[in-house]
Symmetry: C2
Subunit: 211 residues, 2 copies
């Protein structure tokens, strides 16, 4: 161990403590960054550790395995998605129609701006979701948020008054499915040449609205 260690560090940065201070979140953030930069295939525990400035085994003090880190990243993604959904819909507290339209657009926007995080959240990379309660909680909370909007629309006569939970699933499924197909390049060029995924989702919602 060479000398160099300025204990005169008042703090203005985390600045290399030997116990880092907040490694857990640093690892999650490093993971998100690598995800955005190199995609799912480029996400390795060792790279995450390196980017956070710790040794390759350090993450094991905070996550029992790689799946657990992925769960944390996914959970973080859901938190952000929920927050954005909530922010947008809160702008129109008495206008469920607007909530539905703008909420679905927020969903699309999130998927586009965080493509690989979105994939990790929904594309089965996380294999045993049931083992991660925090993940389950926020993901179901998001679901309940969607159900709430649909229900409000039904109460206002804007959507069919069919069983609201089923309707919520089919509407969410529609938005989600169009995005998923779009991201995987499944939507043939003849369609995507003229319309963006955003447009297609907007169109789908229009078709559902009664008044």
């Amino acid at each position: 161990m060479t000398v160099s260690r300025f204990s005169l560090n008042i703090s203005p940065m985390p600045s290399k403590k030997y116990h880092h201070g907040d490694l857990k979140n640093a690892l999650i953030n490093a993971g998100v960054e690598i995800l955005a930069k190199e995609g799912i295939g480029g996400l390795s525990l060792r790279k995450v550790a390196q980017r956070a400035g710790v040794s390759h085994s350090a993450p094991y003090a905070h996550f029992p395995d790689k799946q657990s880190l992925i769960a944390a990243i996914s959970t973080e993604g859901f938190n952000q998605l929920y927050a954005e959904l909530d922010a947008v819909t809160s702008l129109y507290p008495y206008d469920p129609k607007k909530q539905l339209i703008e909420g679905s657009q927020a969903y699309v926007r999130f998927a586009m701006n965080n493509a690989d995080t979105f994939k990790i959240m929904f594309s089965g990379v996380l294999e045993k979701e049931k083992e991660y309660p925090a993940f389950l909680e926020i993901s179901h909370k998001t679901f309940e948020r969607v159900v709430g909007i649909v229900q409000a629309c039904q109460d206002a006569g804007i959507l069919r008054a069919s069983p609201s939970d089923m309707t919520a699933v089919t509407i969410w499924g529609q938005i989600h499915g169009v995005i998923a197909l779009g991201m995987e390049g499944q939507i043939s060029r003849t369609v995507l040449e003229h319309r963006s995924v955003q447009d297609i989702v907007a169109f789908a919602i229009e078709q559902l609205i009664l008044s």
Copy 2:
């Protein structure tokens, strides 16, 4: 090399030739089997090779890399999906409504019976789809098949006569999205306790049908 090699092999099995004869397909099948048994995480080139009874590097004579094997497996999956869609809809050549209903159910059935193949086909594990023309061709052919059914329904007044390609995307997206959410455990228990994914998809289609 011990003795044992019955050159008196009239053929009733591929039976260990030293040039195997059909390694390429054997590798694809081995991949599908491992996928079904161990999931995407368990799929490695070396395991595929071992299951096919060849050395760990043998696959490189047929596939330039792992992605290429995955592309072949996905392509095979799309071929099967297309065949099943085609088989079902061919049963009702003059009944587009039935085609829509039974076709969507066939889609769900395929996803359920081949969950991991389905995931590999749609979940972004294959990273550069555009590099695999055979994959693109069959996947777009499947898309065109769906468009065809929707168009027939529109012509028959069973679905709204909106731009048929957009409508096809939104309907396919709906089916696909409900399945995807269901497979990822995103659909809250209160819904799934009473309804299967099949039921939800059937419900969604019902809602779309005009007459």
